[in-house]
């Protein structure tokens, strides 16, 4: 940005695109919610979320996980497309040219403004090809029916897997290793190449902790 241009009092200084009062626009009369980009938004009542979990389990049993994950994947694909378009329109450059800090901050704000909780990405293991994502205050964990005794955030896991796959151009998979619904401080997700996570869901089923699973994943060959 040229320094003289920045001082024009009528040129905005670009910052938080996802500030809730700017991003969420509603029309009381028609009952429609839209983003500032003009895309439709959908408010999900808690009852519906609960019903999706229990209804799917009733109808499909174990396959509910797969259904949720696939829904998450489609959702992730759409969300990435929208996110990329919104940010590149706003900052007037392609997503790949955005500074990393700006990009990450926008992701966090977008997550929060959409009401999906507080997302944090831990890059400590990036050299080993592993990302750990933490989400606090997740509405999806909050709506999990209490009889589930393992993390059920397949929707979020699918969303994260696709989102980061699109971002990195690699085939990534995601496993949830701890859940607020089971009393954990945050929902933790491990993301890495799909081939390294083949057994991960079985480890979760067997009751391994986040640390134990992370250890196993880090030991596997990239």
């Amino acid at each position: 940005m040229a320094s003289s241009a920045g001082f024009d009092p009528y040129t905005p200084v670009l910052a938080n695109y996802y500030a809730p009062s700017l991003y969420l626009q509603s029309d009381l009369e028609s009952g429609l919610l839209e983003s500032r980009h003009g895309d439709r938004l959908l408010a999900l009542p808690e009852t519906l979320l609960r019903a999706i979990y229990t209804g799917l389990e009733y109808e499909t049993g174990q396959a509910a996980r797969l259904v949720l994950r696939n829904c998450g994947r489609m959702w992730g694909k759409e969300f990435f497309r929208r996110f990329a378009q919104e940010l590149s329109d706003y900052y007037q450059k392609p997503l790949a040219e955005l500074e990393m800090g700006l990009f990450l901050q926008s992701l966090k704000q977008a997550w929060k403004t959409h009401g999906w909780g507080l997302i944090d990405i831990d890059w400590s293991y990036k050299d080993q090809g592993v990302l750990v994502v933490s989400i606090r205050n997740s509405p999806f964990a909050a709506a999990t029916p209490p009889h589930f005794k393992r993390p059920m955030g397949f929707l979020e896991a699918g969303l994260l897997a696709t989102w980061f796959s699109q971002l990195t151009g690699q085939d990534l998979a995601c496993v949830q290793t701890s859940s607020e619904a089971l009393g954990a401080k945050s929902n933790l997700f491990i993301l890495t190449a799909a081939t390294r996570l083949k057994e991960a869901e079985a480890w979760v089923d067997a009751g391994f902790s986040h640390e134990q699973i992370l250890e196993k994943v880090l030991q596997s060959t990239p």
């Binding site: 320094s3 001082f7 910052a15 500030a19 009062s21 990393m100 890059w123």
Partner: protein, 160 residues
Amino acid sequence: MVSPLEQMLIEAEARYLTPEQLEQLKAYVLGWPKRLHVYRALREGEPQMVSRTLEALQKEMPTIAPQLVDLCRRHLLLLLRHSALAMLLQDESLLRERLIEWVEEEVRLYGLQNVYEVAHRLFQQELKEHLQPGELEFIRPWITQVQAALLSLRSPSILS
């Protein structure tokens, strides 16, 4: 989120405003010309105040990277513009949602606390020099509030 003024009007549904509310409204309206005047003074003074702050910053911290100076410049502009609007409309919620939440994340990400201690002191100095004492008292509480929120951050940078 609604401003305090809007909230008051919502509460006064189908009744008269209470004497206290009327006083608040009166103070808001009576203060308007002065606030508008200060708002304009800030708008006119922005280029000078910000560029002089940055010059002084580079003098005090000669090794500071150009990217950080640019980030600082953007933050000072955001600080001034949002504080000016919050002051004009007497609406604190604008600061938290549109300014503090965003900037504090960047300050943490880039480990800018040390730079900010200097930059904010210099900026306060610039404000004092640029505005009349009667104007300064209108804007200073808003700016100080943001600076206090940002300087209370103390966590290591993850990108350094």
